[in-house]
């Protein structure tokens, strides 16, 4: 059974006093457990909206989303979400921020989980630091720790590295692959960076248009780690760019 099933999902917005606008139309998608799937598309094609619907932050206008067979109605602890910005609460230390995700566990069970996850993302020594004392990359690591501390089956990431410089971005990409490799969760991430998508994913879904529709679905079997200048890598990148009609 697919871990994530999106069936007939469309989403329309009605701006105050305006005509309702369709952001997504008739999206059907099934994601098997274990892989890394990326959603790429031009801006405004509704890829972030789709992710927010999967996360339970927004309701689809039609259709349904199921995670592990259960229809998504609200955010669930089985699904982790990392935003484009770290969104750490500035008045809480890194530890307290991660603790937010564990608010329904007894205190005694929280700390070992927090220590373990912070160690894993390389912030073991930064648990008691305020968010403003972290660099952008470290803050995003803390956000990833907060999303992973519950050991979700599905981790969603909404352009998680787009605000970082390219060096930090590549480090975090490699680190994320490592976490995924060790963690046994399924990852779905939204990106507009096609190279990032080809470097990370097992499968790339291409969305295009307004409203957004699926126009491409690629499996990638290149071994990891992937050199970014190999012939198959560049060929795939070109193919996807073609589908987005960027050239």
């Amino acid at each position: 059974m697919a871990l994530l099933e999106i069936t007939g999902v469309s989403k329309s917005y009605a701006p105050a006093g305006g005509k309702s606008q369709l952001a997504l139309e008739a999206i059907d998608l099934a994601v098997e457990p274990g892989g890394i799937v990326s959603l790429v598309g031009t801006s405004g094609c509704g890829k972030s909206t789709l992710l927010r619907i999967v996360a339970g932050l927004e309701k689809p206008s039609t259709g349904a989303v199921r995670v592990a067979g259960v229809e998504v109605a609200a955010p669930s602890r089985d699904v982790g979400l990392v935003f484009q910005e770290p969104r750490l609460l500035p008045w809480m230390s890194v530890r307290q921020n991660v603790r937010l995700a564990l608010h329904d566990l007894p205190r005694g069970e929280q700390d070992p989980l927090i220590d373990a996850v912070l160690e894993k993302v390389g912030l073991g020594h930064f648990a008691d630091v305020w968010p403003h004392q972290l660099s952008g990359g470290m803050a995003q690591r803390a956000a990833i720790a907060r999303a992973l501390v519950r050991r979700p089956n599905l981790l969603l990431l909404d352009e998680p590295f787009s605000a970082l410089d390219s060096f930090t971005r590549q480090q975090l990409q490699e680190h994320l692959i490592q976490l995924w490799h060790d963690g046994g969760f399924t990852m779905v991430f939204v990106t507009h960076d096609i190279e990032e998508a080809v470097a990370l994913s097992d499968r790339i879904i291409v969305l295009r248009g307004q409203p957004g529709r699926v126009v491409g679905d690629h499996s990638i079997e290149l071994p990891r780690p992937r050199g970014r200048s190999s012939q198959p890598f560049l060929a795939l990148k070109d193919q996807i760019i073609g589908q987005l009609r960027l050239v």
Binding site: A55, L57, A74, P75, S76, R77, L81, F83, E85, R87, L89, P90, W91, M92, L100, A101, H103, D104, G122, L123, G124, H125, F126, D128, V129, W130, P131, H132, Q133, L134, S135, G136, G137, M138, R141, R146, F167, T168, Q171, H175
Partner: protein
């Protein structure tokens, strides 16, 4: 960068220039006491210079003592008043008025500010009226309050409370309205129950604005207590000033002024201290330089 070796070498962290090392975070804030002392000393320089100049001016005969008595004359007069216990009575009367007025005004402002901040409906119903009332010069309430509450404590405390109310009300409402929607969403993602969402996400974000409101409210409280006491009182620092004027003792007027300045500054410092403690997480220029 000793801490980097503690991490996996293949996972270098990328601290920015302000990023804290664990050592810096763990170490006690050494030197804070000395820095505080330096700050206080620097702050006392100007008042001290003024007092010296003032003493010289009076002794040199540039000013007439019946208009501007010397600092020593002011001090002697206030010391005498303090020894008989009279000063303390005036001081206590004024302090109590400000305290109760501030508590009443701040309490009401917190209640209504929270209400209009969180509820659109409450804001639509209440805020226009409050904004209109705010436009009434607060001293214009005096005749009405005397008519309603008499010339004793109730009318004075009400007047102070009215003065205290508006800045706190406004700052709290604006603080709540400007809460980052994205952080509230984080609360939703992790399924925070409503109570925790208020206490851990909404409330802390409004604190900077709320404390700013409390401080300007308190300043207005000290301002209004004078107005309240000048409108008729038998005790209080305002009364003492009036008494000094009637009996031709400028040293009492000046002494009361100085007392106002001191106690106003002291109470503000208490609030400022509370704000600093509650807002340690802020990454502001002021916090960096505190």
């Amino acid at each position: 960068m000793g801490y980097q070796t503690a991490l996996r070498p293949d996972l270098p962290v990328e601290p920015n220039s302000r990023a804290a090392t664990p050592d810096a975070v763990a170490s006690p804030r050494a030197g804070t006491g000395r820095r505080w002392l330096t700050g206080v000393s620097l702050g006392l320089l100007l008042p001290l210079a003024i007092v010296i100049l003032w003493q010289v001016a009076v002794e040199a005969g540039w000013m007439r003592p019946n208009q501007l008595p010397s600092p020593t004359a002011v001090f002697t007069e206030m010391w005498d008043l303090a020894r008989t216990g009279e000063l303390w009575q005036h001081f206590a009367a004024t302090g109590q008025r400000v305290l109760w007025g501030f508590l009443a005004g701040a309490g009401a402002a917190t209640l209504f500010g929270a209400l209009t901040g969180y509820s659109r409906l409450a804001r639509q119903i209440l805020d226009p009226t409050f904004q209109a009332l705010k436009a009434v010069p607060s001293l214009a309430w005096v005749p009405l309050f005397i008519l309603w509450f008499g010339i004793f404590e109730a009318s004075k405390i009400t007047l102070i409370a009215v003065g205290v109310f508006f800045p706190i009300y406004l700052n709290l409402m604006v603080g709540i309205l400007s809460t980052d929607r994205k952080l509230v969403e984080v609360g939703h993602v992790y399924g925070l129950p409503r109570r925790q969402l208020v206490w851990r996400v909404l409330l802390p974000g409004t604190l900077p604005s709320y404390f700013a409101g409390l401080r300007s409210g308190l300043a207005l409280g000290w301002m209004f207590v004078i107005a309240a006491e000048l409108m008729g009182a038998s005790k209080g620092l305002g009364f003492l000033m009036l008494d000094g004027q009637m009996t031709g003792r400028p040293q009492v007027i000046i002494g009361s002024l100085v007392l106002f300045a001191l106690v106003g500054k002291a109470t503000d410092a208490i609030l400022a201290w509370g704000a600093r403690r509650a807002l340690r997480w802020q990454d502001s220029y002021g916090a960096m330089r505190a």
